[in-house]
Symmetry: C2
Subunit: 325 residues, 2 copies
C-alpha cells in the first residue's frame, strides 16, 4: 500500500503490477505516474517490478526533427500489432516542460492506436536535475517491460545529446534519416552513426534518397569496427512511412538484431551496462542529496563560500565534502 | 614540484603561478595543460591558484554557428586591449576531439593578437566523462583569472546544452544573434534567452536586423522576471563585428553589467553558485571512482548483474552501493 503525497490516494502496488501484467492500461498508466513523480511509492514499485523485467526488446528511434520519426513509430506499432505483439510507446521530449498526458492516444499520430488494448502509449517530458534525461525514463521502461510488452518503442523529439542518451537506454537503436535534412554530417557529429543498429532512410521516394544511402554506407565504411567476423553491420532500410512502405523490412531488421544479440551475448552485455549506469545515477542522486544535508544543510554552501573567498581550492573543498559523508 | 606522468617533466608549480601572474604566456599555457590533463599536479595547481582568483570578469559568448562569435570575440579583444586590459580567451568546442593547441594565435581569427603579450588565447576541446563540459574548463578559467586577466572571454562553438553550460560558468553572458539564423526560436528552446545578460545583434547592416531586435524585445517582455525594480534588463546592442562597428557599445554593456552585479551582490551570488556546482562535480567524480573500487572493482558490476537477472531493483542496489562507501 502506498499513499500519494499529493492526492492522499492509496495505491495497492502489488495489485497494480498484477493488473498491469494482465494488460490493464489504467494500471500501467498509474504505475508510470508513480515512478515519474518520484512518489513515496517509487521504491515499492521498483521492487515489485524487478522480477518481471527482461522480456521486452527496447527499440529507440532517433533522428532529426522532420524525418518522420512519429509516423515511423506509428506504422511500426501497426505492423507489430498485426503480428500479435504487445507494444509500448514512450515519446520523450526533453525540450518540453510538460509530462504525463493520457496513456492512450495522447499524440495525434497515435490516434489510430487509441482504442487498441494491446498498445500502451505515454509521453514523457523532461530533463532531470543534472541536465540529463529524467531518471523516470528508465523506470517507465521497466513498467512497460513488466506489463508484458514484447517491444517498447522509445522515440525522442530532442536532438544531439538527448539522442545519444536515448540510444543508451535501448536494446536496438534505429537512426531515422531522410533526404534533405543534412543528417549525415549532423549524425556523425553527435556520434549517432556509431550507435545506430539499424538505419532507416525514410521518404525514400524523394530525390536524394540514393545519396543518403551512399553517405551512410560511406560513413559506415569509415567506422571499421564492423569489419570483424561475427560483428553486426547495421542494415540500411528504405521506407515511406506515410504509405507504410518498407515497414515490414524495419520490423525484420529489428528481429534480426535481437537474434544476433541473443546469439552473441550482446543483449545481456547491453543490459548489464545499462543497469550499472542506472544504479550509479540513482546512487549519485542519493549522495548529492546527502551533500546538501551533511552538517545541517549548509556544508556545500560553506565550502563554496570559502572557494569564492580564495580560502580553499575546489578540490580540497570537494575532498572535505566526501570525507564528511 | 610536480612530475609529469607522461613526459617525466618536472614543474615548479609556485614558480609557474608566480610567472603567470607576471604575464608569462608560457607559464599560463603550462598551467592550463596541467589542469587540462588531470595531471598529478592538478591539486597542487588548484591550491596554488586559490588565493589569486576573483579579479577577472568572465564573459561567455553563446550563439548559433555563423552568427559571428569568433569575429565578435576578436574585435572585443582589440577594444579591451586598447583600454589597457589584460584579456584571456577560452574557445571551447565540445564537438571537437582535439584540445590544447598553441596558447597564442591558434585560431585564424585570432592572428591579430598572436604577438600581443597582454592576450592569452586557448582552445579547449572536450566533453567530460559524464557528457557535460570537461571539468578542465572551470580550472582553465581559474588559471586565466590568477594570471591577472581583467576579462576572460569564453566562446563556445557548440549548440544547445553546451551553451547553457558555458553560461553557467560566466559572470556575464552575451547571446550573439544575427539576421537569418532563426536564433529567436532556437534560443528560446535552449533557455538561452533567460540566461543572456547582453544581446548582441551582429551583422546589423543586413536585412532583418530590425526584426531580430523586435523579436528579442518581444521575448524579453514575455519573461517578466526583469520587470521588478532594481533588476537587470539585458540591453540589445547592434554590431557589425567584421567592421568593428558597435563593439564599444558591447564593452560598455559588459562594464555596466559588472557594475550592476557589484552593486546588487549578484557577482558574489553567481560565483557562489558556480563554486558550489564545481565542488559538487568534483566530489561526485570522487564518489564515482569509489563506486568502481569498493569491494575490489566489481561492486557496481555485481549490482548491475543482479538487476538484470531480476534479483534486485535499481533503487535497492543503489542504496547498497552508497552504504558500502
Amino acid at each position: 500500500m502506498a499513499v500519494s503525497r499529493r492526492t492522499g490516494r492509496v495505491d495497492d502496488v502489488p495489485d497494480l503490477v498484477s493488473r498491469a501484467r494482465d494488460g490493464s492500461p489504467r494500471a500501467v498508466a498509474r504505475l508510470i505516474s508513480l515512478v515519474e513523480n518520484d512518489s513515496p511509492a517509487l521504491r515499492e514499485v521498483a521492487a515489485a517490478l524487478a522480477p518481471f523485467g527482461g522480456h521486452a526488446q527496447v527499440v529507440g528511434l532517433t533522428g532529426s526533427p522532420g524525418v518522420g520519426k512519429s509516423t515511423s513509430t506509428s506504422v511500426l506499432v501497426t505492423t507489430l500489432r498485426e503480428q500479435g505483439k504487445r507494444v509500448g510507446v514512450l515519446a520523450v521530449d526533453p525540450s518540453s516542460p510538460f509530462s504525463g498526458g493520457a496513456l492512450l492516444g495522447d499524440r495525434v499520430r497515435m490516434q489510430d492506436h487509441a482504442t487498441d488494448e494491446g498498445v500502451f502509449i505515454r509521453s514523457m517530458a523532461s530533463r532531470g536535475q543534472l541536465g540529463g534525461l529524467s531518471a523516470a525514463v528508465p523506470q517507465a521502461l521497466r513498467v512497460l517491460d513488466a506489463a508484458a510488452c514484447d517491444v517498447v518503442l522509445v522515440e525522442t523529439v530532442g536532438v544531439g545529446q538527448a539522442e545519444v542518451e536515448i540510444a543508451s537506454l535501448a536494446d536496438t537503436t534505429l537512426l531515422v534519416v531522410a533526404p534533405g535534412f543534412g543528417d549525415g554530417i549532423q549524425a556523425a557529429k553527435a556520434g549517432i552513426i556509431e550507435i545506430a543498429d539499424v538505419f532507416v532512410v525514410n521518404k525514400a521516394d524523394r530525390d536524394g534518397a540514393d545519396q543518403v544511402v551512399r553517405d551512410l554506407r560511406y560513413m559506415q565504411s569509415l567506422g571499421g569496427r564492423h569489419s570483424e567476423a561475427g560483428s553486426w553491420r547495421a542494415p540500411i532500410v528504405r521506407t515511406v512511412a506515410a504509405r507504410s512502405e518498407g515497414v515490414d523490412d524495419v520490423v525484420a531488421a529489428i528481429e534480426k538484431h535481437r537474434s544476433w544479440m541473443d546469439e552473441h551475448g550482446e543483449l545481456d552485455r547491453r543490459r548489464q551496462v545499462r543497469a550499472a549506469a542506472e544504479i550509479e545515477a540513482i546512487a549519485l542522486g542519493t549522495v548529492r542529496r546527502k551533500f546538501g544535508h551533511v552538517h545541517g544543510s549548509a556544508a556545500l554552501d560553506e565550502a563554496a563560500a570559502r572557494v569564492v573567498a580564495g580560502d580553499a581550492d575546489p578540490y580540497s573543498a570537494a575532498d572535505e565534502l566526501v570525507a564528511s559523508l
